[in-house]
């Protein structure tokens, strides 16, 4: 294809198509609308369906059902829409539905500033729905990563039969960048594991808690069952505490035990550095400049950029925190992932946030100030 001048949202649509996404439902909202526009153009080209739903609840309902009927589904919205997705995310969790949910974050709360960027939905994503079960969320920093991580989000959704969030922001979604998507290396396309025809189908079958149940689609070779209610492996309502706990353990274990496999990080460690900057999303690009400037002034500083936010890449974070005395966590919110770093930081590591929500990017200078106060 060669170099193009693309906005992040178009790269998301292209990543979805690369992942053979053949179902999209969304409701217009700045700054996510253009994903809907691109998908309306692209999805039908492979026999897919893209539709503007009547609201965000319908967007999720359509996608969940389509995914259970064998489609590779995606939806996209921004903060106000995620609020309306909330209950349905739980449905996708309890039903073990593979699908991708894009959040192009904008300044909140509420309507906030529709055309301004923020990273205010980090913990909201983690605790997006009732029950508090683990969530998967990836966060791109560039237009190229928007493409790559959308594709990878589909892979994770399919591998773990789970909803997967792509947490981008206005600052990436509607910023154009020169990029060559073909140069981006992608893993092989993953597809959900299927039950063989002729074998009995239990929609939530597992032997070990962490196993991902094999799938059979509505309209396929087996009679399928899907339910929002607490159920057993066969998808039948149950209230037996033992079975209920077993199922909850399963939903949690299949994601938590795979945290290391899902961990996508970029580490730039400097020997002897006592400070590490831990960042993600658009702010990680300011962090990159800050690191460069700090080093050019003779300061020693390491950097860890997280592409996987949830489940927390604990091993990578712990290794980055090893040997430092100071961790700087810049975020375009009032300190959200900071809580996660504080939770993991060993005694003797001071965790410092660089936080603002005035809709402007956090500048390299602001980060440098925290590196060298």
């Amino acid at each position: 294809m060669g170099r193009e001048f693309l906005e992040g949202n178009e790269a998301i649509a292209r990543g979805a198509m690369k992942a053979e996404c053949d179902f999209f439902a969304g409701y217009p909202i700045t700054p996510a609308s253009s994903i809907l526009h691109y998908m309306l153009q692209l999805a039908p080209q492979i026999g897919g369906v893209a539709i503007q739903a009547e609201d965000e609840i319908a967007s999720m309902g359509l996608c969940i059902a389509a995914a259970m009927a064998g489609r590779r589904a995606m939806t996209a919205t921004s903060g106000p829409g995620i609020s309306l997705y909330s209950e349905s995310v739980g449905l996708a969790q309890i039903g073990e539905t593979p699908m991708v949910i894009v959040n192009v974050q904008r300044q909140g709360p509420a309507t906030g500033s529709a055309t301004k960027g923020a990273e205010g939905d980090i913990q909201f994503t983690r605790w997006v729905t009732s029950g508090g079960l683990p969530i998967i969320a990836l966060s791109p920093a560039t237009v190229g990563e928007s493409y790559e991580l959308t594709y990878r989000a589909f892979n994770l959704a399919e591998q773990y039969r789970s909803p997967v969030f792509l947490l981008t922001s206005k600052e990436i979604g509607v910023t154009r960048e020169s990029v060559d998507l073909d140069e981006i290396e992608l893993p092989p396309l993953a597809r959900r594991k299927l039950v063989e025809p002729g074998k009995t189908y239990l929609p939530h079958a597992f032997e070990h808690s962490k196993d991902v149940p094999a799938f059979s689609e509505f309209g396929g070779d087996h009679v399928a069952r899907f339910t929002t209610s607490t159920h057993d492996q066969a998808g039948y309502l149950t209230s037996k505490p033992g079975v209920v706990q077993e199922m909850i353990d399963h939903y949690a274990a299949k994601i938590d035990t795979a945290a290391d496999d899902m961990a996508l990080v970029k580490e730039d460690r400097q020997d002897g550095a006592k400070t590490v900057i831990i960042s993600y999303g658009i702010t990680s690009r300011s962090a990159a400049v800050a690191v460069e400037q700090a080093r050019s002034r003779g300061l020693k500083v390491s950097s860890l950029v997280l592409q996987t936010l949830w489940p927390t890449p604990e091993r990578a974070v712990l290794s980055a925190l090893d040997g430092v005395t100071r961790a700087v966590v810049p975020e375009m919110n009032m300190g959200q992932y900071l809580l996660e770093i504080e939770r993991l930081a060993p005694p003797g590591v001071e965790v410092v946030g660089v936080n603002k929500m005035d809709t402007a990017l956090i500048s390299p200078a602001e980060i440098l100030q925290a590196v060298e106060p």
Partner: protein, 449 residues
């Protein structure tokens, strides 16, 4: 040969869980009979249930079952049908589900997605303890209308008809032909709704002395007829969707990739802000300019700033060009500020005073630029645009910037215009590049006052 089924229900999990005399028994039995009438493959049928007592029923069937959130069953039915149009999708919802999911009812009817909606309408929320619903009659006593309901009931059938439903019928739990009406509903290729009035023997019936004969009185009171109320077949959504796509999507993807054909003199990250107003093609011109820079081997980013009502007010574009990767995408100090209109100037006015000597402001000659440390180049932008084309003012300005800075050849800009714009517009804009470039004479540019 497929075996003839005499029932689509299983007794493996025991009898239906409903209160004695509950109308849901009748609806479920009628659905079983309708399926027997149709002799469909259970694997090709999905029973989608809403939340509520009615939603406890799907697991008694041998078909596929989809039990989702309260009020959203229609959306699941639609998703299944859009994904696999060959499936028979039957949605069972209560009056409560139709209330909270009202938007979905209107939209499935309007879109004509081929699901069958069966409403088990018992005038209240059975499952949660007999609260009033959107169909509770005026005066109806419920847990939440202890002194009688003062809200007018919603006529579900009338609502569906008004929303354009292809097929609508009303029946009651007592009608002898309920299963046959249901069979007809399921057979419809488009959206079909069957509203079944029934008794909730735990709450609504005892509190309101609603018995079999009273259902007829209620029908009369609200002038509600039984039977088929609308039968206007039209193409089902998936069919229309495919037709529309086939007819509309003839356009092949335009080429968007850019090869390097020129060289640039840009050695460091350079920020350019173009400030104009809506209707001056600021954003699209900035994109062309950045694409031209890419053809000269540079990396580029672009961010726009404009009010949400796009056809009025300011329009700003921020471009960063760099020979290296661009990390930080904000422009703290523009190297080149291009002022095209008064509205654009107003938007950025507060940042002008602090601009250093190393920055240049290219401004229309008639704009009142506040005092600044930057070098100011005054140009007859509007006057030139009046001659060449009003929509080319940003191209003219950037033509001048290129000539003055030598960042990359004006030829690159011209090539991007030819490549990405329609022939007619490109013709005007190619002239605009030249006209812009010719406004700048290396020795004549005035510096700051």
């Amino acid at each position: 040969m497929v075996e003839h089924r005499t029932t689509y229900m299983t007794d493996a999990i025991g009898p239906l869980p409903y209160c004695p005399g509950c109308g849901h028994h009748f609806v479920i039995k009628a659905l079983d009979k309708a399926l027997v009438n149709l002799q469909l493959d259970p694997k090709e049928v999905v029973i989608v249930t809403d939340i509520g007592c009615i939603g406890l029923s799907d697991r008694y069937f041998v078909t596929n079952a989809f039990h989702g959130l309260h009020g959203r069953s229609i959306t699941y039915g639609c998703g299944l049908k859009l994904a696999r149009p060959e499936l028979t999708v039957i949605v069972l919802a209560g009056d409560g589900g139709c209330g909270i999911g009202g938007a979905h009812l209107l939209n499935v009817a309007r879109r004509n997605i081929g699901v069958t909606l069966i409403v088990a309408n018992n005038f209240n929320y059975g499952m949660t303890g007999g609260q009033h619903s959107v169909t509770t009659p005026v005066g109806g006593v419920t847990t939440t209308t202890p002194w009688g309901n003062v809200e007018g009931p919603m006529d579900l059938c009338g609502t569906a008809v008004a929303a354009g439903a292809a097929w609508v019928a009303r029946s009651t739990m007592f009608e002898k032909n309920l299963a046959d009406t249901m069979t007809d509903a399921i057979k419809q290729p488009g959206f079909a709704m069957l509203d079944v009035w029934e008794l909730c023997t735990a709450y609504y019936s005892p509190r309101n002395q609603l018995k079999k004969k009273d259902v007829d009185t209620l029908l009369d009171r609200y002038d509600c007829k039984l039977g088929v109320l609308a039968d206007n077949p039209r193409p089902e959504y998936s069919e229309s969707y495919r037709e529309a796509y086939k007819a509309g999507s003839t356009a092949t993807r335009t080429k968007t990739s850019i090869e390097q054909r020129f060289t640039s003199k840009v050695t460091k990250q350079t920020g350019i802000v173009i400030a104009g107003n809506a209707g001056q093609k600021i954003k699209s011109t900035a994109t062309l300019f950045a694409q031209a820079a890419m053809s000269a081997g540079l990396a580029a980013t672009q961010k726009d700033d404009y009010p949400i009502t796009v056809m009025t007010g300011h329009s700003l574009a921020e471009i960063i060009l760099s020979p290296q990767r661009i990390d930080y995408t904000a422009i703290e100090t523009p190297d080149h500020l291009v002022l095209i209109s008064a509205e654009g100037l107003e938007r950025i006015r507060s940042r002008i005073g602090d601009l250093p000597q190393t920055s240049t402001i290219y401004t229309d000659e008639n704009l009142d630029v506040p005092p600044t440390g930057a070098r100011v180049v005054r140009l007859p932008l509007a006057a030139t645009a009046a001659k060449i084309g009003r929509l080319s003012i940003a191209v003219i300005a950037l033509g001048a910037v290129l000539k003055d800075t030598g960042m990359f050849p004006t030829e690159a800009f011209a090539t991007a215009i030819t490549m990405f714009q329609g022939a007619k517009i490109a013709e005007v804009n190619l002239k605009a590049v030249e006209a812009g470039a010719s406004l700048v004479h290396p020795d004549e540019t005035s510096s700051a006052p």
